[in-house]
């Protein structure tokens, strides 16, 4: 069995709000599966229904071959779950949390190494309320890994973390995958999904807008490419319009800065632009291709930006 998760025609409403509409997807063993979308898109609803914490209105969900509604306990023995919104008692100490949760599972890994691995080795006697946001986050990850789970759900893992901590967390997510676990990574950061995910499901307004590898999604854009460089005063960038494949040239003049040129087009744009510039004896140090990213994929698919 390579499909760890199978979801078909999932629908979930809260009163008049349709949170998830007709989502179908499969997650394969050993992959990092990204779920991205803007706030309120239905990401958390989708994954929490997959975990069995919410009951779908219709559609079927199978995780590790089990029904999350009727076989919840058996299933959760094998899942690692980090929820977007959760908490622990204020006065509970870090080690007590791990010790307590370990008693819920048939099988666990020793929690001391887990604490050390997630940088909480010196916090074992700290009360939950005295942990920083990032430390709480890491405690929840440690709790999610306590039962040596086959499937790990991480919902908004890096929200509230500083950039350095985010990068470090990304490394740790890869480490989880490298242990052979399947990871479901929910995020509204496109760069995070692009960086980590083997495949990405883009959800918008409760619907699945696209599902593929980040590379395929970006290549599928077919917007051509963009070349940028810093020009010199007195150079008329309009001459670049003669270059084969170029569709548009923009020049931005700042009062203090040298002009910034943007060339859009298709084909081997970078080398052609470079050749043309050489004719005018211009060799910009920062001549570069701007790659499309998932943010643009999202914009192209949905017609709006992921963040307002």
């Amino acid at each position: 069995m390579t499909n760890v998760i199978e979801v078909t025609n999932l629908r979930k409403t809260y009163g008049a709000t349709v949170a998830v509409e007709d989502i179908s997807l499969t997650v394969q063993k050993g992959e990092i599966f990204g779920i991205v979308g803007p706030n309120g898109a239905g990401k958390t609803t989708t994954v929490e229904t997959i975990m069995g914490l919410r009951r779908p209105d219709s559609g079927t969900v199978r995780v590790l071959g089990l029904d999350p509604q009727t076989q919840a306990e058996e299933l959760r023995q094998r899942l690692g779950i980090q929820l977007q919104e959760a908490s622990l008692p204020d006065y509970l100490k870090v080690w007590e949390a791990l010790d307590l949760f370990a008693s819920f599972y048939h099988q666990t890994v020793p929690w001391e190494p887990l604490l050390a691995q997630w940088g909480l080795g010196d916090k074992r006697n700290t009360r939950f309320k005295n942990l920083s946001g990032g430390q709480k986050q890491r405690l929840f990850i440690a709790l999610a890994l306590l039962n040596d789970p086959e499937v790990v759900f991480l919902d908004e893992l890096t929200t509230g973390l500083d950039p350095q901590a985010r990068r470090a967390t990304w490394e740790m997510v890869r480490a989880i995958r490298d242990q052979g676990k399947t990871v479901i990574l929910v995020t509204h950061f496109m760069d995070e999904a692009e960086e980590l995910a083997d495949r990405v499901a883009i959800i918008d307004q409760g619907r699945l807008a696209a599902l593929d590898t980040p590379q395929a999604l970006i290549q599928g854009l077919q917007t051509g490419s963009t070349v940028r460089f810093t020009s010199v005063n007195g150079f008329d960038a309009a001459v670049l319009e003669e270059v084969a494949g170029v569709t548009a040239v923009h020049q931005k003049n700042g009062s203090l800065q040298a002009p910034q040129i943007t060339v859009q087009g298709s084909g081997p744009l970078l080398s052609r632009v470079a050749v043309k510039l050489a004719e005018y004896n211009i060799a910009p140090l920062d001549l570069r291709v701007e790659l499309a990213d998932l943010e643009e994929v999202f914009l192209a698919l949905t017609g709006h930006k992921i963040r307002a």
């Binding site: 622990l88 204020d90 819920f104 009360r127």
Partner: protein, 245 residues
């Protein structure tokens, strides 16, 4: 079972780390004992049917501990757990509601029993309190009454949306009962109308049950029936309406 023991132990430690929460269980009854003990002592008086004030009050104070734990302590604790998302996190692990509820029952009973033990010890050493005529039956009655009021606490926690509303409703239920049922004040000082009205307050039955066993009058079967009925009904309601979030 191992999880239940561990959870109960952890909850017990948490209660001790946040002692304000146990004020009404552990400290307040002692304050009443000292207050009225120092005013009225424990000499037998005809007004109290030939009993001393302390002897007359302690079974009521024990009922008060049962009432405050069930109607205020438990619903607030559970609502806070739900409001803060703590229950959500527990539920993501392979546990049943029974584990959370069972550990709450256990820890609240334990703390209540500790409060009662303080009360009895101080009563005996300072005021020469008479001990229950039927100690084992009294203990059974305490446990039974504890279950019935904890099940009411689960109903409050299940039906009320927030910790603030649970606290408000819990107090609105508890304080009239404390004053009218004979738990906090002897019913002998109340006008007859209020005493008659107290028959509609469940805590009155705990007071009646405990006083009967304490003074050697045996089991009050009406009280047993009322409390058992309340336990069954409240458990059914909370099983039906319990929410994790």
């Amino acid at each position: 079972m191992q999880a239940l023991t561990k959870m109960t132990w952890v909850e017990l430690k948490l209660k001790l780390r946040e002692p304000v929460g146990t004020f009404f269980t552990l400290v307040f009854p002692l304050l009443l004992l000292f207050l009225f003990g120092s005013i009225y002592g424990n000499e037998p008086t005809a007004f109290l049917g030939g009993r001393g004030n302390v002897d007359n009050s302690v079974p009521g104070y024990i009922a008060m501990i049962i009432g405050t734990t069930g109607m205020i302590g438990l619903p607030i604790a559970l609502s806070v757990y739900r409001e803060q998302g703590i229950l959500r996190r527990f539920r993501a692990a392979p546990i049943t509601p029974g584990l959370v509820l069972g550990s709450q029952v256990a820890v609240n009973l334990i703390v209540s029993l500790v409060g009662m033990a303080f009360l009895i010890l101080v009563g005996v050493f300072v005021y020469d309190l008479v001990l229950p005529a039927a100690p084992f039956s009294t203990f059974l009655a305490v446990i039974m009454s504890g279950f019935s009021f904890l099940s009411v606490g689960f109903v409050l926690a299940s039906l009320l949306p927030t910790a603030t509303s649970a606290q408000a409703v819990g107090m609105a239920l508890f304080f009239p009962m404390m004053f009218l049922s004979g738990a906090g004040l002897p019913q002998q000082i109340l006008p007859e109308k209020l005493v008659a009205f107290s028959q509609y307050l469940p805590l009155t039955y705990v007071v009646n049950l405990l006083q009967g066993l304490w003074y050697g009058d045996g089991w009050n079967w009406t009280a047993v029936l009322v409390l058992a009925g309340m336990t069954v009904a409240a458990t059914a309601v909370s099983v039906r309406y319990f929410r994790w979030e």
